[in-house]
């Protein structure tokens, strides 16, 4: 009967607003055959694709397509379900090219197919694991969708609601039924190409064997990475070169894939906390924050004000250290050796400070549900002030030494043009989006924690090039310093020593439900989706990594550039590979 209910939702194109409950904004249930049309209309309405989450429940596999609007400050989640025996969705990669990777990732993790996917090859898992799907639930472990989201929790939308009407209009326009073909062999099919076009390599792995050169013999196929100085970790990019010009670039991921999402399902809510420090080791506290926010939303936990302020301060300190490292590493990519040493000098001070508070230098696990693990030491405010003052004094020196250098400007200006439409199609966020002239920042657009009390600006440059992204990050450091100083002032007032109401114990069991929390990380929008069936362990955890979406536009952006510029573009995206591979 319940199964009928969810399909009846889809037939009726029901929209449900539950922003306060789960942070997901407006949920629209629709039939999967209409997905491609709906995606096209979402794009037209100016929505950017955040991520595609799959949820394995007893009714089938539910696809959740999360969209964000940059100006309207709202989120729309399109939900559609495919029964287990014909788990197949239409691919929306033709509309949102950014969906390509999300769909490939889902094909790795779940036994699903995406019809007409342009390149259905494994993304994060190795190619010999095509038949294994780590996130597929066993029959006995599956729960009903309505055990996670109880029917009475839905808040029906009235048609006056702006979000809802927008979403409803979306698919009432097209009512044609498209029968969905569901052919399991679609997986891993190769694009139809004449055999002589294939690259003939005896050795070489799955990806180099299936990387076809476009049309001529005198092309050089080059593997940049996974061991290469400027891919910052174990990213691999297969390049097709004509001389030094990049004809085609195809990132190959998965070299540091650790299956964090599966770990989320086998650990309790608490045990999963340390994982968050290891997703993006450069801005670990933002991931801490996102996961804690999601679980707090789920279990309806309140956070004392002092803890919120400490969270903001440490988060911004962490953002500073992340941007400093990016600055040094980016200039290293461009061949300047010295700036990274200057950046590390400042970063070291921040890390020393955070080490005192959190106990670790890189992979912090400091936030817990309902607060932070321990209060800051007495001299914290003083030390932090002196650190940010020193940094503020040094920022002009960085500008004089590096930013105004003619050689640097020639290397970054007009390189790697990324316009807002490209960001929308690929779901790019963070400095990449702000460097494209869009003032979208989660801290400002949908404030969490105490960010709405603080006075700061969102630096935006609309040069669309690597220089704009560079400048955005440089200005963001100054803004972070501003935030830290204000929060420190507030912290003096909130000095009741209350950092957590009641520490949840190991038996912590949130009620069933789902929650989505987004925070602004150093690289963009970090999203954590947690679904719980009322057990001790999350039923599903989905991590939306900003770097994943940002990197997915690299192939389009790098096309036709010089090899040296491709390196410059890669650096300007600020990649952290563990975050992308998760």
């Amino acid at each position: 009967m319940r199964e009928d209910l969810i399909f009846s939702y889809e037939r009726e194109n029901r929209a449900v607003v539950d922003d306060h409950v789960s942070g997901q904004g407006c949920s629209v249930y629709m039939d999967r055959t209409r997905l491609a049309d709906a995606a096209a209309m979402m794009l037209e309405a100016g929505y950017a694709l955040d991520d595609i989450t799959l949820l394995d429940v007893s009714e089938g596999i539910q696809g959740q397509y999360r969209f964000t609007h940059w100006d309207k400050q709202d989120r729309v989640t399109i939900r559609t379900i495919a029964p287990h025996d014909e788990a197949c969705f239409p691919s929306i990669a033709g509309v949102y090219p950014g969906a390509d990777w999300h769909e490939r990732e889902n094909m790795d993790f779940y036994p699903v197919n995406y019809e007409d996917h342009p390149n259905p090859t494994p993304l994060l898992l190795p190619d010999d694991m095509a038949e294994e799907h780590p996130l597929e639930k066993r029959e006995k472990d599956r729960v009903s969708y309505f055990d996670i989201v109880p029917g009475q929790k839905f808040i029906e939308c009235d048609s006056d609601h702006m979000l809802c009407s927008c979403a409803l209009n979306l698919h009432s326009a097209k009512k044609d039924e498209f029968p969905l073909r569901c052919i399991p062999e679609l997986r891993f099919k190769q694009p139809d190409m004449p055999a002589n076009m294939r690259l003939e390599v005896e050795d070489g792995d799955f990806y180099s064997k299936h990387f076809e050169t476009t049309y001529s013999d005198d092309r050089l196929v080059l593997n940049m990475g996974p061991q290469h100085p400027s891919t910052h970790g174990v990213l691999r990019v297969v390049l097709e070169l004509d001389g030094e010009y990049v004809i085609r670039a195809e990132p190959v991921l998965g070299y540091i894939h650790r299956m964090h999402e599966k770990m989320g399902e086998v650990k309790t809510f608490h045990q999963y906390l340390p994982n968050m420090g290891r997703v993006d080791y450069l801005h670990a506290l933002a991931w801490n924050h996102a996961y804690c926010l999601a679980v707090e939303k789920l279990a309806d936990i309140e956070v004392p004000r002092r803890a919120e302020l400490i969270r903001v301060i440490t988060n911004e300190l962490n953002r500073l250290s992340s941007h400093l490292l990016w600055w040094g590493a980016y200039l290293l990519d461009l061949g300047a050796f010295t700036p990274i040493m200057y950046a590390f000098e400042d970063r070291e001070r921040i890390m020393d400070l955070l080490q005192v508070i959190t106990g670790s230098r890189l992979t912090y696990c400091y936030f817990v549900f309902g607060g932070v693990t321990c209060d800051v030491p007495g001299d914290f405010a003083e030390r932090t002030r002196s650190i940010v003052h020193t940094l503020r004094d040094r920022l002009p020196m960085f500008t004089a030494l590096v930013t105004e250098n003619l050689i640097l400007r020639k290397r970054v200006e007009d390189i790697g043009v990324i316009d807002p439409s490209m960001c929308r199609r690929y779901g790019a966020t963070g400095p990449v989006l702000r460097g494209a002239g869009v003032a979208y920042d989660v801290r400002m657009n949908s404030p969490y924690s105490v960010y709405d009390e603080l006075d700061f600006e969102i630096p935006v440059y609309d040069g669309h090039d690597a220089m704009s992204r560079y400048m955005v990050r440089m200005d963001e450091m100054a803004e972070s310093i501003k935030i830290i100083e204000q929060a420190l002032d507030l912290l003096d007032g909130a000095d009741d020593g209350h950092i957590i109401k009641k520490a949840p114990n190991a038996g912590f069991t949130p009620p069933s439900g789902e929650a989505y929390a987004a925070v602004e990380g150093a690289r963009g929008k970090i999203g954590v989706y947690v679904a719980s069936d009322g057990g001790k362990k999350p039923y599903r955890v989905k991590l939306r990594a900003p770097g994943f979406s940002n990197l997915s536009l690299f192939a389009e952006c790098a096309q036709g550039t010089l090899l040296a510029d491709a390196v410059s573009i890669l650096g300007s995206l600020d990649l952290v590979i563990p975050e992308i591979d998760r």
């Binding site: 080059l222 030094e244 461009l334 061949g335 300047a336 050796f337 590096v402 020639k410 390196v567």
Partner: protein
């Protein structure tokens, strides 16, 4: 016992010279490694090497020992013959380059009235070595590095020659000794005063010719991993390294002789003035490396073809006219 008197004097001089030069190049290699690392350290606000010996002075010795002791590995698909010829080919001409340089009064290897030509001719060998290294390694990064090295070196030789020619027009000779002799001891009597543009172009081209940052595109670490010497280990790499430093010394020596009055200097002229000027230029080259980002490859060539060659040509024409008029 051998009768040294039986050996003809020029031959004896040559042998002695080559031995002395080998020592000079070797010691300078160690010194420059130390200097580079110390300068890099101080520019980056850290002490630099500090552990081996007082203030780390023995670090380059340890480095050299490590390089010598390392196994020589050639990649499987490499053309072994070319692969091992390349580092030797890169290092061998260095001795010839040093022969005509006059370090002090009467302190030179071979007296020749075509010293400048000799240096310029043999300096070209290096391009061949880099090309063979990149090609022979059977490595795509190496190949890209070699292609870059060839186009860069060939391009930058032109303005280099043109500026040298401008000095040759003024002095009317290609003999390095005579060029030194025609300049005075005090800075205003040096060629750099009459040929400032030529000096700037020469020095920049020298940086590019020796593949030093910001023009180090053939081995651009962040783009081509290590460019042409990606596959070299141990002394294969060591020879390229030594050759690069030796070439730096050669170009700085030539710049000293052509533009900065050679061994002549205020108060007491002598080899010490030569060394002071040479090391000052070397320090500037290192300063460049640790300050600037890398110029992009097509920009490197653009600077050469669109700026340096026209400027050097104009400078040469002007010099020719002025020499004729006065």
């Amino acid at each position: 016992m051998m009768n040294f008197a039986a050996i003809p004097e020029p031959a004896l001089r040559l042998v002695l010279c080559i031995v002395a030069l080998a020592v000079f190049i070797g010691l300078n290699g160690l010194l420059l490694v130390y200097m580079e690392r110390k300068i890099a350290g101080h520019i980056q606000r850290r002490p630099g090497p500090f552990e081996v010996g007082p203030h780390g002075v023995l670090t380059p010795v340890a480095d050299a020992l490590k390089l010598v002791g390392k196994q020589l590995v050639a990649p499987e698909g490499a053309d072994k013959w070319l692969f091992w010829t390349a580092p030797i080919l890169s290092f061998m001409p260095i001795f010839v380059l040093f022969l005509p340089i006059e370090f002090g009064p009467n302190l030179f290897g071979v007296e020749t009235n075509l010293g400048l030509l000799l240096i310029l001719a043999f300096a070209g060998f290096n391009v061949l070595a880099l090309c063979l290294a990149g090609w022979g390694s059977n490595n795509k990064w190496g190949l890209l590095g070699a292609a870059r090295a060839v186009s860069q070196s060939v391009a930058y030789e032109i303005p280099l020659l043109l500026t040298v020619l401008a000095v040759a027009f003024m002095t009317g000779t290609l003999d390095l000794g005579e060029i030194t002799a025609m300049q005075g001891a005090w800075p205003w009597q040096w060629n750099v005063v009459t040929q400032p543009l030529a000096f700037v172009i020469f020095f920049t081209c020298a940086v590019a010719e020796t593949n030093r940052a910001p023009f180090d595109v053939p081995e651009a670490e962040s783009e081509l991993t290590a460019g042409f010497h990606t596959e070299y280990s141990g002394m294969g790499f060591g020879l390229f390294f030594l050759a690069e430093y030796a070439e730096m010394i050669v170009v700085c020596s030539v710049a000293t002789i052509l533009f900065l009055g050679g061994w002549k200097g205020p108060f007491i002229s002598g080899p010490w003035w030569f060394l002071v000027k040479m090391y000052a230029l070397l320090t500037i080259m290192m300063w460049f490396r640790w300050t600037y980002p890398r110029v992009r490859f097509d920009q490197v060539l653009n600077i050469c073809w669109k700026w340096f060659i026209p400027l050097a040509l104009a400078n040469l024409l002007l010099t020719a006219v002025l020499v004729k008029v006065f």
